[in-house]
């Protein structure tokens, strides 16, 4: 295998953004018939490297070689034409277009005026959907799909190009484990057919499962360059990524039974369709709210925050029944906070600076006479939290949109740390976060809880849930189906949780597939 000639090579790639040197002379060599892992912490430059390879960004220096000859891509089209396909980290689908049209857009781009034959388009899309075991009518508009299915459509779109080099930037971030398995089967098949694949993921188990070669980036430079995965263990990977060994904090038993209740829901129904929801979170407790995507967890969180109406039942904060009319009141009057799962549109104001974002919830507190607000005070109030989370930014005045995904997530967490709320809902906290930050984040949430904050963690990531929660409440189809006290033993707890979800699915019978479509 090592005799083979490289299909694609990137040499000494540099990429500068205003104020940031994202890549500082990176090398990567891709072999045919191989799955190449591209690893690194948040902001290490993985996505940037992929964008340089696929013609989105022009490198500031360095060369790209395809089959040994130097090439230049001035646009994504060039790269596609040369057989380089990609699934970017962010979604790039057109919600109002059908699945088939989204899949074939690249091919259509050849001519402007030739009328489109939609039935041929649908037929053409079917094999790619079937390859992914996706049971969707190709004529369905993408907007009607769940996030996970959109992700799969995006992968189908890349597959349909039948490219020789296929780069996948965190393709599994929003997939369930069974969907991931299906994807892997296809990736293996492609590999065996001679395609060269690049796979980016923060989940090292996945990397170890399917990758045969690896490149690690640290701070925009190679920490390891196109090595074989043979003999490299998880610890070595972590060591290369973060420059030291992993310090993952394990689950520890925390007892909060004696503490007063901070938030209590009894028989709550909401305008979104929740019925008879009972939930109680005590001071210093971390409660997990587990469920599959679409179970109504985010919606419940938003209803608690006053974004949607509670139509029946009682909401109690510190034992007093309250009605929360809007989110501002939840935050400022009742000390509740919500870290959104969708940081780009709900968690952060992307075009504003790091400082402005981190300070929003405490502006009111910091405002002086006549509502005067001074940057210095905001700066002093938020800086410790940004430092604690090791936010990587050239300055506090940097626009948040220019930071890497992981760093953005850190800021959306830091702002609630600064706000000092008594009850915090954390929605899918570690989507797209590297292992180091994830460990930090977990430790931080525990510290917060130890200091008395009541925390509700929403996650679809079972290991995360079991590592973090004291008690796990399971939600399915807008109902609470049961509760498990966490013992930290993965097999027992995951079994119990899946049991709760499974029972519920059997009860509701044929209704299940419908609800997946609606969210």
């Amino acid at each position: 295998m090592s005799e083979q000639k490289a299909i694609f090579e990137a040499r000494g790639i540099e990429k500068a953004f205003p104020g940031v040197m994202a890549l500082k002379g990176v090398n990567m060599t891709l072999m045919p018939g191989s799955i190449h892992a591209l690893l690194g912490e948040n902001g290490a430059g993985k996505s940037t490297l992929i964008k340089v390879i696929t013609g989105v960004h022009l490198p500031s220096a360095g060369t790209l070689l395809l089959d040994g000859t130097e090439t230049q891509f001035s646009s994504p089209r060039d790269a596609i034409a040369k057989g380089i396909g990609v699934v970017h980290q962010e979604r790039n689908l057109f919600p109002r277009f059908s699945v088939a049209e989204n899949i074939h857009l690249e091919q259509l781009a050849a001519g402007y005026l030739k009328p489109i034959n939609y039935s041929a388009l649908n037929e053409g899309a079917r094999p790619w959907l079937e390859a992914l075991d996706l049971d969707i009518d190709p004529a369905t508009p993408v907007s009607e799909l769940s996030v996970a299915r959109m992700q799969l459509v995006e992968i189908a779109k890349a597959l349909s190009l039948q490219s020789r080099v296929l780069l996948l930037d965190e393709p599994t971030a929003s997939l369930t484990s069974s969907e991931t398995e299906r994807l892997f089967t296809i990736l293996r098949r492609l590999r065996d057919g001679g395609t060269s694949l690049v796979f980016v993921s923060h989940k090292l188990e996945e990397v170890q499962e399917i990758c045969d070669r690896v490149t690690v980036l640290r701070d925009g430079a190679n920490a390891c360059e196109s090595r074989s995965m043979d003999g490299i263990g998880r610890h070595d990977l972590v060591q290369m990524m973060i420059g030291r060994a992993e310090g993952a904090a394990a689950w520890r038993h925390r007892d909060t039974t004696g503490q007063p209740e901070v938030l209590g829901l009894s028989d709550v129904s909401t305008s979104l369709g929740h019925k008879g929801v009972n939930l109680s979170v005590r001071k210093g407790e971390i409660v997990g709210l587990y469920g599959l995507v679409g179970a109504g967890r985010t919606e419940l969180a938003k209803a608690i925050m006053g974004k949607f109406k509670v139509t029946a039942g009682k909401v109690q904060v510190n034992g007093k029944a309250v009605t929360i009319p809007n989110v501002a009141s939840a935050i400022h009057d009742h000390g509740l906070g919500y870290i959104s799962e969708d940081r780009k549109s709900e968690g952060l104001i992307l075009q504003h600076s790091v400082l402005a974002n981190a300070g929003v919830p405490i502006w009111r507190k910091l405002a002086g006479r006549f509502g005067a607000l001074r940057d210095k005070r905001i700066h002093d109030a938020v800086l410790p939290y940004l430092q604690k989370l090791e936010v990587k930014t050239p300055s506090l005045n940097q626009t948040v949109a220019n930071l890497s995904g992981g760093n953005q997530q850190k800021i959306s967490v830091a702002k609630w740390l600064a706000a000092g709320v008594q009850f915090l809902i954390v929605d899918e906290p570690s989507v797209g976060i590297d292992i180091k930050t994830k460990a930090y984040l977990h430790e931080l949430l525990r510290e917060l809880a130890d200091a008395g904050t009541a925390i509700l963690v929403i996650s679809s990531d079972m290991p995360e849930m079991i590592a973090l929660a004291d008690r796990i409440v399971v939600m399915d189809d807008y109902h609470i189906t049961g509760e498990v006290t966490n013992s930290g033993v993965y097999d027992d707890i995951s079994h119990a949780i899946m049991g709760l979800i499974h029972d519920a699915e059997e009860d509701s019978g044929a209704v299940v597939p419908l609800k997946e479509i609606s969210v």
Binding site: A16, K307, A330, D375
Partner: protein, 339 residues
């Protein structure tokens, strides 16, 4: 290695903020203003005469105010097509209060401004309640407000206003400075303070940049949007009252059919000044400079006797040249900075 520069307090980064200033719209506008002032000063007779400076100042005072009125709504990511209609309506209410009800003029002025703000409230409230883009709402209310105003006034002007009005419009400090310009500058300073250093202003910007994120961070986005529209209405009223002071009468047609004549100045100032049409970013100084540049260009072109019919073409061309130059300058600087 991880957090560079994070410890330095904001604004204290001397080198960085200076290059940032040279990259800014404001600097570009100042350059353009100087360049054109020199060109006109050398080529157009009387461009620098005290009388011309006085009219230039007075006209720019009004145009800047119109631009600021639009700017306050652009902050929310919206537009206010009804600026003209609202402004004229407010001025007509003021005139009616004086002539129809005999209210003393200072109170009448307040009444007019309050009426402008009330119309703004209607716009803002509808934008919030319907969730429609303000472009549509104000497109409709522009028609409604203007139509109702014309219907109620029977298109007749209020001409018997107290002498104080036109005296203020004609007043000159040091032979060339109009007090109207001072009013405008005072308002501009207040707005700059609002957006830079107050809770309300910051919340307006956050709400405009990303309503969903702002709401989940505890900002009453609805209130902020309504407030922005009210501010816009008040400023539009103020601009119209300044026009009344200049003309000596409150005339229903002073902003053209449906108030459309104001639209061009209303957008030019903020847009040239670097206020993002998507909302969330604002430059008060830029708006002031942008509106001033445009006023100066039209005045200079008239003095050059380009022929009244071609003035509009030249104005458009100069606008284009202005934004192109600005763009070129910034990309040049950005490239040099990177290297």
């Amino acid at each position: 290695m991880t957090i560079q520069d994070i410890n330095s307090p904001p604004g204290a980064t001397g080198g960085l903020s200076r290059t940032r200033f040279f990259l800014s719209n404001e600097f570009g506008l100042i350059l353009l203003i100087i360049v054109f002032a020199v060109i006109f000063g050398l080529s157009a007779r009387g461009f620098l005469s005290p009388f011309n400076l006085f009219t230039l100042g007075r006209n720019s005072a009004i145009n800047i105010m119109i631009g600021l009125s639009m700017m306050t709504v652009i902050v929310t990511g919206g537009l206010n097509l009804a600026v003209g209609a609202m402004g004229v309506s407010a001025a007509m209410v003021c005139g009616w209060l004086i002539e129809g009800l005999g209210v003393p003029w200072p109170l009448a002025i307040l009444g007019g401004l309050a009426f402008g703000a009330a119309l703004g409230f209607i716009n803002g409230w509808m934008v919030v309640r319907t969730g429609l883009h303000s472009f549509i709402i104000t497109l409709a209310t522009m028609s409604i407000f203007f139509g109702a105003m014309i219907f109620l006034t029977r298109a007749e002007a209020f001409r018997d206003l107290p002498a104080a009005f036109s005296a203020f419009g004609k007043m000159k400090f040091a032979n060339y400075l109009s007090p109207l310009l001072l009013v405008t500058l005072a308002v501009a300073v207040a707005l700059a303070w609002l957006y830079r250093a107050t809770l309300t202003g910051r919340e307006m910007l956050a709400a405009g940049a990303s309503p969903a994120a702002a709401e989940l961070s505890g900002i009453r986005v609805d209130r902020m949007v309504i407030l922005c529209h009210m501010l816009s209405g008040g400023l539009a009223g103020l601009a119209a009252l300044m026009l009344v002071a200049r003309n000596g009468a409150a005339i229903p047609s002073m902003a053209g059919q449906l108030g459309q004549d104001w639209l061009l100045p209303a957008f030019l100032g903020p847009v040239l000044g670097g206020t993002l049409l998507q909302g969330g970013k604002v430059s008060v100084l830029g708006t002031v400079l942008g509106a001033f540049l445009v006023t100066m260009l039209s005045s200079g072109l008239l003095m050059l006797q380009v022929g009244a019919f071609w003035v509009q073409t030249f104005l458009g061309l100069m606008l284009l040249v202005a934004v192109l130059l600005d763009k070129a300058r910034r990309s040049y600087l950005a490239r040099r900075n990177l290297a």
